[in-house]
Structure formats: structure tokens, C-alpha cells
Amino acid sequence: MTTNNWTPEQPIVSLNNVYKSFGELEVLKGISFDVMKGEVICIIGPSGSGKSTLIRCINALNDINSGSIKVHGLEVNDSNLNKLELRKNVGMVFQQYNLFPHKTALENIMMAPELVLKEPKGDVLVKAQALIRKVRLEDKQNNYPAELSGGQQQRVAIARSLAMNPDVMLFDEVTAALDPETVKEVLVTIKELAAEGMTCILVTHEMGFARELADHIYFTDRGIIVEHGPPATFFKEAKDPRTKEFLSQIL
């Protein structure tokens, strides 16, 4: 990244008192948390609690009203922010996959490194093929997204984000649109990614997955972080009544 005032001892993503409203509707009311490099963070909470908005603010898909978001030393809430520079370092995977339907799986992965990072085509091809093997879809590399199942599309979407060599990956309810059988294959991919030391921020409803994988869990409700902690204590010793209620309904 161009601004290199970041050192590994500092959080790679740091939110400080983030406020966000859509018109009258206040969605985030003072969110703060830090993510260290290599950590896996899960954000859980009821629908409409601002989880997706929160994660979308981190790569500036949504602007925030006040507060500070620092990613790798780069202030996101800055009108002079070079959004392209930020997004080269923050990968994002969506609930609806959003693969480009007019390109094959492999081309989907190759597009951004070629056009945005201007990497030579030969290198990009090698990288893309390695990534598609990594998500175990090498036999589907020349298929168009419409010919792939939801889980396969989502794994291509993950590979597409990884092709940009991001420092942080954002996952916005990536398994919510999948049927239960394919959820697993996507979660396995994310698990492998986390094992390799990728910093991951996930919005998820997969409690089992959060419990197994997360270094830290944040529970949001009505725009604030109600409770947080490592999975061991979070699931067993939830104190706040809202968290308790949510967990009792979902577990």
C-alpha cells in the first residue's frame, strides 16, 4: 500500500466510533473494534442490526457519517481517499456471489489482476489456475457462472477476490443463499484460507462455524456492539439479555 505507516503490531483494521445513517434511519451508532493481522472475526446478530452495512463500510461501498475506519494505515473516512488503492487490499465476497455472467470462471478470476493490477497475462493465468485448484474447481474453469451451482459460484467468487492478493477478506453472509449441503464446501474454503493466516471479517449466521474458527465474536444489535469475546466465553457466558435471547433462539 502507498501509505506505509502501518506496522504489524498495529491492528490491520481498526474501527473507532463509527456512525452511519441512511437518512433518518441510524444503522450504526458508534461501532469500535480492532482486528489484528491473521485474525478471524465473526460478526453475528439479528437481521437489520447493521452487520452488512458495517462490513460494507470497511471497503467504502458505503460512506460513514462520522468516526474513523483505518485499514492497513489508510483512513477510509477521508474525502480524498483513493478508493481503488483501498479496494486493491480488501477483498469482498457477497451473499449473491455477483460473478460476471459474461465471463468464464477462470476469466472472472483473471479480470481484476489483468485490468486493475496490470499484471502480465501469463503470470495472471498461472495465478488464476492455482487459485481455481485451491477452491477445487479446476474442472469447471471454462464454465460460465450460470452453469455452476451456488456453492461453486461462491468458491469462484472467493478465488476472484484472492487474485488481488488482499490483506483482508470481507465475507458478507456468503453462505446465506446456499442450500445446506453446499454451505459446507464454501466454509471449508474459508477455513483453509484462515489457516493460511488470511485476515477475515465475516458476517455470518453459521454459529458452529463461528465457534470453531473465530478468534473473536462480535454480537451487534440495533447498531451497537452489545457483547463480544472469544468463542469459548462468548457462547458459554453471554451476559447481555439480548445476546442470550439471540443465542437461545439460534442454537
Binding site: R87, V90, N98, F100, L115
Partner: protein, 301 residues
């Protein structure tokens, strides 16, 4: 008889008769607005034989009446036959030439105007919107008159004098409404792409220009073809307008030919009937093809 007694909604084999709307066959939605294709639909929904029969009835009834005069039907058609190479070779070819160039200029300008309508720069967006609305909602003939009468017939560039033929001016005049309508087609098609595509593209650090040209436009290209062809057919049928301004196309030349043949009123129907037929023969297949493409592209998404 009493068929309704056996009719079970949604279960009876002929689903067209179902009174449950959800069970009726899906009618594909086209790109842009449905009214863009109203003409094609009308034209293509009539079978060729019906249209031909109507045409023949209309043309032959008066012919039969006129045939009682001295200048016989056969003579009139013989005259048409003699003039045919001139009317088609110099006339209809000119109509096609005008339609090609108009579509070319209109499409190129229309794509940029349409992209202007979705620009992030507010003045560009508003200006593009204004130009689009202005030329979409003006009579084509008025635009033609303005261009024909205000454009110079020659341009001086240094020492060279380039003359602009009348038909070229007609092309500019007709390009304006085509540009405006293509602009709307482009805007409609771009807006029909799901926002998730924009977000995915943005989050991969594509610039806006890259997003539009590499991600969005390739996806809506197919969706733009049917309305684009529809506008081409409409334009082709509008090209005889330029005869009012003296451009030597099929209608102008037909009139000249009739004058050369002493203006027998019996000639009117063979000559103009032929003009009608040749436009029909050219535009009807385009309309059918448009509809076919529209169906094909509306299913696949």
C-alpha cells in the same frame, strides 16, 4: 359444449385457458421499455399471408376500377417494369444508404449520450438527459427541415471546398432522433443490470470507466439488440420523409418516373404500391427476427 364443466383451473391440459394468472406462460420482458417494441410486435404478430391479402385487396380493388379507362392495368404495370431498375437501383438503394449511415451515426452518438445520462457528473447527466428528451419528443420532419435548411451545402476547409450532398444532410437530420432513442435504450439496458455487478466490480478496484466498458456494457449488449433493430426498422420506413426535401430516393424517383410518363393517374397505385411492398419486404423480416432475438435473450438470464 359444456367444456367448462370439465375445466379444472391450472390442471386442465390447455394452460392458456387457466384462470390462474401464475400458471399462464411467462411473457419475457425485453430490455428498455415495452413500448419500444410495440410496432415490431404488431407487425410480426400478423402472419405474412394476412398482411399480403390485405395489401392485395387494397391495391387491386381500385385497380379494377381504373382498368376500365384507356390506359390499362397492363400498360401501367409495364411502365412500372420499365422504370423498376431506376426506382430500385437509384431510389431504394438510396433509402438503404441513408438508413445505414443514420443508424451508424445515431448509434455511436446515442451510446455516448446514453452513458452521459448515467454519468456521475451531474451537469453531464442533466445535459444528456435534456438532449435525449428534446430529440426524442420532436417530430422527425421538423428536425429534418431544420438540418436541411440551416446546414451549409458546402464547407470550406482551407483551400478545399467540400460539398455536402443533400442525402448526407438528411442523414444528420434523421440521426438526431435515432441518437436520442438509442440513448434511452442504452440507459435502460445499463440500469437493468443488477447493482450487485456494480458492487462486485467496485470492490475489485475496477475504475468506473472499466466497470462500464468491461463489466456492464458487455452484459447488456444482447439486451440492446432487439430494441436497436426495432429502431432500425422504424428508421428505414421513415426514410421516404426526405423526399419532401428533394433527396432522390424511392418516392422522389417514382414521382419523377410518373411525370416522365405523362402523369397517368393509373400509375399511382403500381408505383406507390411497389414502394410499399419493397419496404414491407425489407422491414417485415427484420421485425420477425427482432422478436425471435427478444424471446431468446429474455429467457437466458
Amino acid at each position: 359444449m359444456f367444456g367448462y364443466l370439465n375445466h379444472i383451473p391450472g390442471i386442465s391440459p390447455n394452460s392458456q385457458q387457466s384462470d390462474l394468472p401464475v400458471l399462464l406462460p411467462y411473457q419475457g420482458h425485453s430490455a428498455g421499455k415495452p413500448e419500444d417494441l410495440r410496432f415490431s410486435r404488431w407487425l410480426a404478430s400478423s402472419s405474412p399471408w394476412v398482411l399480403l391479402v390485405i395489401f392485395l385487396l387494397i391495391s387491386f380493388y381500385p385497380l379494377a376500377v381504373l382498368a376500365q379507362s384507356k390506359y390499362t392495368l397492363i400498360q401501367a404495370f409495364a411502365t412500372l417494369w420499365r422504370w423498376l431498375p431506376f426506382v430500385v437501383g437509384s431510389g431504394f438503394v438510396m433509402n438503404l444508404l441513408i438508413s445505414f449511415f443514420t443508424m451508424l451515426f445515431g448509434t455511436v452518438a446515442g451510446v455516448f449520450l446514453g452513458l452521459g445520462q448515467i454519468s456521475v457528473v451531474a451537469p453531464v447527466r442533466k445535459f444528456s438527459w435534456f438532449i435525449t428528451q428534446l430529440f426524442r419528443n420532436s417530430p422527425w420532419l421538423v428536425l429534418l427541415f431544420i438540418v436541411m435548411l440551416t446546414f451549409p451545402f458546402e464547407i470550406e476547409i482551407g483551400e478545399h471546398i467540400i460539398s455536402i450532398p443533400d442525402w448526407m444532410k438528411a442523414v444528420f437530420g434523421l440521426s438526431l432522433p435515432i441518437m436520442a432513442n438509442i440513448s434511452e435504450v442504452v440507459r435502460g439496458a445499463v440500469q437493468s443490470v443488477p447493482t450487485g455487478q456494480w458492487e462486485a466490480s467496485e470492490s475489485l478496484a475496477f475504475s468506473r470507466v472499466q466497470t462500464i466498458w468491461k463489466i456492464i456494457l458487455p452484459q447488456c449488449f444482447k439486451r440492446m439488440i432487439p430494441p436497436w433493430m426495432n429502431w432500425y426498422a422504424i428508421l428505414t420506413m421513415a426514410t421516404p420523409l426526405v423526399s419532401l426535401l428533394g433527396v432522390e430516393e424511392i418516392v422522389t424517383l417514382s414521382r419523377q418516373a410518373m411525370e416522365a410518363e405523362d402523369n397517368h393517374p393509373e400509375l399511382l397505385i403500381p408505383f406507390f404500391g411497389f414502394a410499399l411492398l419493397i419496404f414491407f419486404a425489407y422491414c417485415y423480416p427484420i421485425a420477425r427476427w427482432t422478436l425471435k432475438l427478444e424471446e431468446r435473450y429474455s429467457v437466458k438470464l
